[in-house]
């Protein structure tokens, strides 16, 4: 894999300066994590005995059937919720509460409606009493970076869906988090905007090489962005398989269409996801369960 683009120093967080080293460093460790909701007897397990690691400076994408507990894992990593069992550590420190070392990009815009684009970006610095001239000029730089300089005085409702996502990216990046957690960030955007945002995000990642955990249900998005894909089981969430995506960066969407390697990964991921989707389908329907069973027997017969 080649690292083609030269990182821009001003959006470069400090610990990534050593990205020249080839030794993978583990940033996030999730070990035997379980999470269930509801009172003891009626508790419903959403995540059960889930274990995985995320490498520093890598973009790890988690993909799985909808409702499989991916968003729960994001909330656990963010520290908004505590696991029922197991441990999560980021940078060697256990996660106990939300922290500025990791930032979440939510499914739909969580920009504060009462602040302008600029006000939203400056929210983090103000919270930490770090809103000096230097930070302001960095905010200006990020505004320009996400192409929203002309919209700095607009309120979120006056921005389009894609602009909102970009404003939110800038709001996150100004805080220089060690880790970015993205929970289906491009869901709900129209197809064209979604494609643009994927390319845009890939570019930002390639420039900063910030450790990223990205949750999605979109297989093409996963392959385009990921260094590594975690395919999840149906609920309660566990890692079903880990697929390495060894495609050169910088990536372009059109390059992937004809890429054999990408298509192989896609086939593999799809068959895994299909099985999990069928299981979740079967859970709700006896007929579907019967069908899967019959289908499985028919495959076994010739042997």
């Amino acid at each position: 894999m080649t690292i083609a683009s030269v990182p821009q120093p001003s959006i470069h967080s400090g610990h990534l300066a050593r990205s020249g080293s080839t030794e993978p460093i583990t940033e996030i460790v999730v070990s035997n994590v379980s999470k269930s909701y509801g009172p003891m007897k009626f508790a419903k397990a959403v995540v059960r005995d889930c274990t995985f690691e995320i490498e520093r400076g890598k973009l790890t994408v988690m993909i799985g059937p909808s409702g499989c507990g991916k968003s729960t894992l994001i909330r656990l990593l963010a520290g908004f919720e505590r696991p029922t069992a197991g441990t999560i550590s980021i940078g060697g420190k256990p996660v106990a509460a939300p922290g500025v070392d990791r930032l979440v990009l939510f499914q739909e815009s969580a920009l504060f409606p009462w602040l302008t684009t600029f006000g939203n970006i400056m929210f983090g610095p103000h919270a930490r009493a770090a809103a000096g001239d230097e930070t302001r000029s960095r905010a200006e730089f990020l505004l320009d970076k996400v192409g929203l300089t002309a919209f700095r005085r607009k309120y979120p409702t006056q921005l389009s869906g894609g602009m909102q996502r970009r404003a939110e990216l800038a709001r996150a990046m100004i805080n220089e988090p060690k880790v970015m957690l993205l929970d289906e960030p491009f869901r709900g955007l129209d197809a064209m905007t979604k494609t643009l945002m994927q390319e845009y995000y890939a570019k930002i990642y390639e420039e900063t090489r910030r450790t990223t955990f990205f949750v999605t249900t979109d297989i093409d998005e996963a392959i385009f962005l990921a260094d590594r894909i975690l395919v999840m089981t149906n609920v309660p969430a566990q890692v079903r398989a880990v697929l390495e995506v060894d495609l050169p960066r910088p990536r372009r969407l059109e390059d992937l269409i004809e890429n054999d390697n990408a298509n192989l990964i896609k086939m593999e991921a799809l068959s895994l996801l299909h099985e999990e989707a069928m299981k979740s389908f079967a859970r709700g329907s006896k007929a579907a369960a019967d069908f899967i069973e019959a289908y499985a027997k028919r495959i076994q017969k010739p042997r």
């Binding site: 922290g99 500025v100 979440v104 103000h126 919270a127």
Partner: protein, 273 residues
């Protein structure tokens, strides 16, 4: 300058619209029907022409304006007190589960009691008539303000809290920069509803309590608009009753319009999406 031009062209657009003329025509027909009905003795309500004459006379009468002044003063005293007590109380209930658990049951027990049912008790308990009228007015606005503040604060998206916490906000910072602005739109809704109720209540309170301590001083026309209507009724001046009614309508409309304008000023993010 450009804004003045915009306003003028906006006014022109309104005047040249069918909607405007349809509305104007409807009002004209209403007044015409009223006039005919009164003249034909179908209705004992004085005709609009007679009301207009009385209105013109009263415009020159300082005691009529004194009634305006008194009622406005009572409404605003009660309303401002309701905001000062209601907003912190509502925010407290929204922020603290323990506080909510303690205060809300009491609040919910008292809320169904109509403010006007408080009038006699209020007159007994408060040292002056003036205070008792203001208190009843306060109650009218108070419940609307509190209910809206609680609802507004509880409706704030949890992701805003989560986002703020990840960006390093302290609890105080979250209160100041998430809860306060997040609740502001519903505070303004509560205020607009509240002042409407305050006007409704002050009129009735003035009628019942005899215009407060100023009732005798200002004579028939002093003592507040509610007392003004009541006194006109007792004195048999039917045109004055109608003038009083219209005056209250105007007062309520102006108050609501002012608050709506204020609301737009303090919540610029809700304008023209």
């Amino acid at each position: 300058m450009a804004e003045v031009g915009d306003r003028a062209s906006q006014a022109m657009r309104i005047i040249s619209s069918t909607k405007f003329w349809r509305g104007a025509l409807a009002i004209a027909i209403f007044i015409a029907l009223w006039e005919t009905a009164s003249r034909a003795d179908i209705s004992r309500v004085p005709p609009p022409t007679a009301v207009a004459v009385t209105f013109k006379e009263l415009m020159a009468d300082p005691s009529y304006w004194f009634s305006w002044y008194l009622s406005t003063q009572r409404v605003f005293a009660g309303f401002i007190a309701a905001m000062l007590v209601g907003i912190p109380l509502g925010l407290g209930m929204a922020v603290s589960r323990a506080f909510y658990g303690t205060v809300f049951p009491v609040f919910e027990v008292l809320r169904p009691i109509p403010p006007l049912a408080w009038v006699p008790a209020s007159i007994i308990f408060w040292p002056t008539q003036e205070l008792s009228i203001v208190f009843v007015t306060f109650l009218g606005a108070f419940y609307a303000v509190v209910i809206n503040v609680i609802g507004g604060a509880q409706a704030i998206d949890t992701r805003y809290y989560q986002a703020a916490r990840s960006m390093g906000s302290s609890s105080w910072d979250i209160f100041r920069r998430i809860i306060l602005p997040g609740t502001l739109p519903s505070v303004m809704v509560g205020a607009t509803v509240g002042i409407g109720i305050a006007w409704a209540v002050v009129v009735a309170a003035e009628m019942i309590s005899g215009g407060g301590s100023a009732g005798s001083m200002g004579g028939a026309k002093g003592g507040g608009l509610g007392f003004f209507i009541w006194n006109s009724y007792v004195g048999g001046s039917y045109t004055q009753i109608v003038v009083g009614m219209i005056s209250i309508g105007i007062a309520g409309y102006i108050s609501s319009a002012l608050l709506r304008k204020l609301g737009e000023l303090v919540t610029p993010w809700l304008r023209e999406q």
